[in-house]
Amino acid sequence: MKKIINEAKELNKKYNFFVTINEKAIKGIPIAVKDNICTKGILTTAGSKILHNYYPVFNATVIEKLKGCSVIGKTTMDEFGFGTFSINSAYGIPKNPHDLTRSCGGSSGGSAGYIAASKYSKFAIGQSTGGSITCPAAFCGVVGLTPTYGLVSRYGLIDFANSLDKIGVLAKTVDDASSCLKMIAGYDQKDSTSVDVKLKTKTTKNLKIGIPKEYFEHTDKKIVEKIFKLLDDSGIKYQEVSLPHTKYAVSAYYIIALCEASTNLAKFCGLRYGLSSNPEGKGFNEYFTEIRSKGFGEEAKRRILLGTYARMAGYRDQYYLKAMKVRTLIIKDFKKAFKKVDILVAPSMPTIAPKFTEIKKLTPLQHYAYDILTVAPNLAGIPQLSVPIGTMDKMPIGLQLLSDHFREDYILSFGKEVERWKK
C-alpha cells in the first residue's frame, strides 16, 4: 500500500489528481474516489470551496460496499459536477497524463486521469450526471462505466441532479470495471430511488449493433472515419438507427439538471457545515448571500441562477415542464431503437481532449455543446460503457456502447470484444 500512496503523491504533484490523499490507508485494494462521495472522517469537498472543511459523519453506501478496499484518496472534479473539463475545481485542475496541456475531461477528471497514469490502481469511483464518466474516460484513454440509474445507491453522493446522478467506475479494462461494479451495485433501502434488480455482467446472446446516425453528425470527421474502419475491420454487422430528438438533448438536459441542482445547492449557506463566518449582527439574507458568493465558483453561480429561473412561476411550464416532456421523447427514441438492436455504438466525445488554452475561449453555451453525445443517454438513465479505441493526433479516443435499462451484460460483453480489436 505504501508504494501506492507514494505513487499517488508523485502523480498528484505532476497532475493534480487528488484533493486529499489518505495516508492512513493501510491494506486492501486501493481505491480512489471522486470527491463528491461521502467518506466518513475523510475530507469531502465536491470540488467546492464551500465544503472546504466538511468531514462527513457517515459513509456513502458505495464506500460501505467496497469490501476489502481502502480509500487512498479523493479525486479532483468540477465543483458539484458542473463541467466537462474539470476546470471548475477549487482544488487544482487535473491534467491529462497523455498531454499536460490538455484537459482530463470532466467532471470525474481526477479519477479518470489517475487510472490512466497509475501503475497499480485498476479502478476508481466516478459519477455521471450528463456524461461525467464517459467524457474523462474517452479523453484519458480508460474504460468508463456508467450503470443504469438506480442500480448503484446514491446515498452519500452529494447531489447534482437527483434524477440524473449515477455513481460509476473508471477502470483500466472492461473486466476491471465489471469487478468494481459488482461490488458497488445493489439495492439500498437508504435510497428511495434505488432499484432492486440483479446485476447481469455477461451474456452469450448474439448482439445486434445499431449506429445512431445523429451522433456521428456531431463528431470530428477523423474520429468518425476511425470508428467505421474499426467496425468494418472487425466484420461485425450493424444497422443505422435514428434518435431524432438528439438535437434537443443538451437544452432539455441543462434545464432539468440545473432546476434540480439549484434546489440541491440551496442548503449551502454557512449553517451546520461548510464555509461560514460570524453570523452576529447579520440578517439571514445578508449572511447567506455573503457565504454563497464567497464559496461558489463562477460556473456554480451561473447554474444556480439558470436553474432558479427555469422553475420560477411563469417560466416553469416553458422550461422545466417542457424539458421533462422532451425527456420523455428522448427516452422513447432509445426504447424504439432497442426494439431493433441490442446495443448502440457511437463516439464517446465529439473531439479529442481540448487544450486548456482552447477551453478558455469557449462561451458557456459552447461548453454545454460538448456534452451532445452523452446527455441523452444520461437523461434516459441507460447504461453506458466507454472503451478506449486507440488515438487520434496522439490523444485517446473512446467508443461508447449504450444498451437498454439494466442490460449491463450486453455492453460489458461487447465491450470486451471491442477491447480485442486491433487499433
Binding site: 469531502t44 465544503l51 462527513p56 457517515f58 446515498y155 428511495s192 434546489t263 440551496a266 442548503k267 447567506f288
Partner: protein
C-alpha cells in the same frame, strides 16, 4: 358590521414514532436535549436522502376521511425552495401540485348560532423546520439565532380551509372541533407546539393580511380579534391597509409586521426527485377507514337517541374520547342518567387536577361499585364525591376509602354532639334566626364526615330543636 372573510392553514403535528423523512425517534422530542434527535437527513447534510414514513401517510388518510375529503389515488412530493435559518435544506419537502386529499368539509355553529359547513380546500403532508431561539432581542432585533434541529423533519399535516369563516369565533370553534376529531383518530400529540395556524383575513374587501404561526384555538380567535381592532384603528387614522404578513406575539398579545407583500416568495416548485410517487389504493383507504372510530358528531347523535341525557352532558362526555369509551362501557351495566351525572363529576375532578381521562387510574368495575353504593343509599352524594376524588388516581384503595364515608346508624349522637358544641348558634336559631340552620347543617355534615346528607340533617335538627 364589517364583512369579514377568513381562511386558515393549520399545521398539525402527527404522533408517529419517527419523523417524516427519516427514522429519528419522536419520543419526548420536545424535552430531550437540543440537537440530539438528528441524523444526516433532517440536518440536511450533503449526501443524505429522504425516505417517506408510511405511518404518516396512514394518519393523513385517516384525517382526510374524517374531514370528508376526496383522497387522491396518486400522491407526489414537491420541493418548495426558500431560504430561512430554520430550514435544514433551504427547501421544504411538501405536496404542492398534487396534495393527498381535497374538497372536504367540517360543520360548525356559526357566529349567529346556525349550522355552517366550512370547506376544506386541501390536506397534505409536509415537514416541520427547526426551532429558533432569538438571542439579544425578538425575531426582528436579535443579534443572532440559536438553532435546534430536533424538530426538523417532524411530520405535519397541513389543512387548508376555503376562506369561508365570517368571524373569529367560528375559527375557534372549528379548531376546537378539529382537535377533538384528531384526538379521536389518535394521530395527534396534544401539547404546546402541536397545532399551529396561519390566519388569512380580509375585511370589507380590503387587502389580505396573514398572521403567521398562531398556536391553538383560543389564540387564533384572539389574534383575529386584535387584527380587526388594529385595522379599525388604522382606517380611523386614515391609513391604508396593506397586504402583509404579521407575526403573533402571544405573550404580548400583539402582532408585528414581518414583511410587506411586495413580491411573494417564488418557491420554484419542482417534483421531489429523491422520492417516488405513492399510489393510494382503494384497499389502503378502506383499511384506514376501518381504523376510524365513531366520530364526535356521530356519537352525539347516537347518545341523543339512546340515552336520555341533556346535550350539555353529552358534549361534556364525548369531549374526551377515552371518557366516552368509559361511559359506554359503564352504561352497559348501569342507568345512563346516573352514569352520566357521575362521569361528569369525574370529569370535573380530572379537570381540577389538570389530567385527561387517559391519565386516570379508575376502571369501570370500581366506578360501578361506587354507583351501586350510591343507589343503595349507603353513602351520601357528597360522600360519593369525596370517594371519587380519591379513587380516581388510586383505585386500589377503594374498599378502605369508601368505608370512611359509609352512612352511620348513629346519627342521633352526631346531632346531639353538634347541638352541644354549638350552643350559641342553637340559641340564635331558637331566637328566630332561620339562617343559622344552614350553619348547623354544615356542622352535622362535617362532623359526620359527609355520611349524613343535608336533607336528613335538617330534618333531625328541626326535630330536636
Amino acid at each position: 358590521m364589517e364583512k369579514i372573510k377568513i381562511g386558515i392553514e393549520t399545521h398539525v403535528q402527527l404522533n408517529t414514532k419517527t419523523k417524516l423523512f427519516c427514522g429519528c425517534s419522536m419520543k419526548d422530542i420536545n424535552s430531550v436535549s437540543e440537537n440530539s434527535r438528528c441524523c444526516p437527513t433532517c440536518l440536511g447534510m450533503p449526501g443524505s436522502k429522504p425516505r417517506v414514513n408510511k405511518g404518516a401517510i396512514d394518519a393523513a388518510i385517516k384525517v382526510a376521511l374524517a374531514l370528508n375529503c376526496d383522497v387522491l389515488s396518486e400522491m407526489y412530493f414537491s420541493r418548495k425552495t426558500y431560504f430561512y435559518p430554520d430550514m435544514s435544506k433551504n427547501f421544504q419537502i411538501t405536496q404542492y401540485e398534487v396534495p393527498l386529499a381535497k374538497d372536504g368539509k367540517l360543520e360548525i355553529i356559526d357566529f349567529e348560532g346556525k349550522v355552517k359547513k366550512i370547506g376544506i380546500e386541501r390536506i397534505h403532508l409536509e415537514e416541520d423546520p427547526a426551532k429558533l431561539q432569538h438571542v439579544g432581542g425578538d425575531i426582528s432585533t436579535a443579534n443572532y439565532t440559536l438553532i435546534d434541529y430536533n424538530r426538523s423533519g417532524i411530520p405535519l399535516i397541513e389543512i387548508v380551509t376555503k376562506p369561508e369563516f365570517s368571524h373569529p369565533k367560528e375559527v375557534r370553534r372549528f379548531l376546537k372541533k378539529l382537535v377533538m376529531i384528531l384526538e379521536y383518530l389518535d394521530v395527534y400529540v396534544p401539547g404546546d407546539l402541536s397545532l399551529k395556524s396561519d390566519l388569512n383575513i380580509s375585511i370589507d374587501g380590503r387587502e389580505r393580511v396573514e398572521i403567521k404561526n398562531v398556536t391553538g384555538a383560543i389564540d387564533a380567535e384572539k389574534a383575529l380579534q386584535l387584527e380587526i381592532v388594529r385595522q379599525k384603528g388604522a382606517i380611523m387614522r386614515g391609513e391604508k391597509i396593506e397586504r402583509e404578513t404579521r407575526a403573533w406575539l402571544p405573550g404580548k398579545n400583539i402582532t408585528i409586521s414581518l414583511r410587506k407583500k411586495e413580491t411573494e416568495n417564488d418557491y420554484g416548485y419542482i417534483f421531489e426527485p429523491d422520492l417516488t410517487k405513492i399510489e393510494i389504493s382503494k384497499k389502503w383507504i378502506l383499511e384506514m377507514k376501518n381504523k376510524i372510530p365513531e366520530l364526535p358528531h356521530h356519537k352525539f347523535e347516537r347518545y341523543q337517541k339512546e340515552f336520555d341525557i341533556s346535550p350539555e352532558l353529552i358534549n361534556s362526555i364525548i369531549d374526551d374520547f377515552y371518557l366516552a369509551e368509559f361511559y359506554e362501557k359503564c352504561v352497559k351495566k348501569e342507568d345512563p342518567k346516573l352514569v352520566a351525572t357521575w362521569v361528569n363529576i369525574l370529569k370535573k375532578i380530572l379537570y381540577y387536577n389538570k389530567k385527561s381521562f387517559k391519565e386516570a387510574e379508575i376502571t369501570s368495575d370500581i366506578f360501578l361499585k361506587l354507583l351501586k353504593m350510591i343507589k343503595r343509599g349507603e353513602i351520601t352524594d357528597l360522600g360519593a364525591e369525596m370517594i371519587l376524588r380519591e379513587i380516581t388516581f388510586n383505585q386500589q384503595e377503594f374498599d378502605k376509602i369508601s368505608k370512611k364515608y359509609v352512612k352511620t346508624d348513629d346519627i342521633a349522637s352526631i346531632i346531639d354532639g353538634v347541638i352541644k358544641e354549638n350552643k350559641e348558634a342553637v340559641f340564635d336559631y331558637k331566637s328566630g334566626n332561620e339562617k343559622v340552620m344552614q350553619f348547623l347543617i354544615g356542622q352535622v355534615i362535617r362532623k359526620s364526615n359527609r355520611t349524613v346528607d343535608a336533607k336528613t340533617a335538617k330534618r333531625l335538627l328541626e326535630e330536636k330543636l
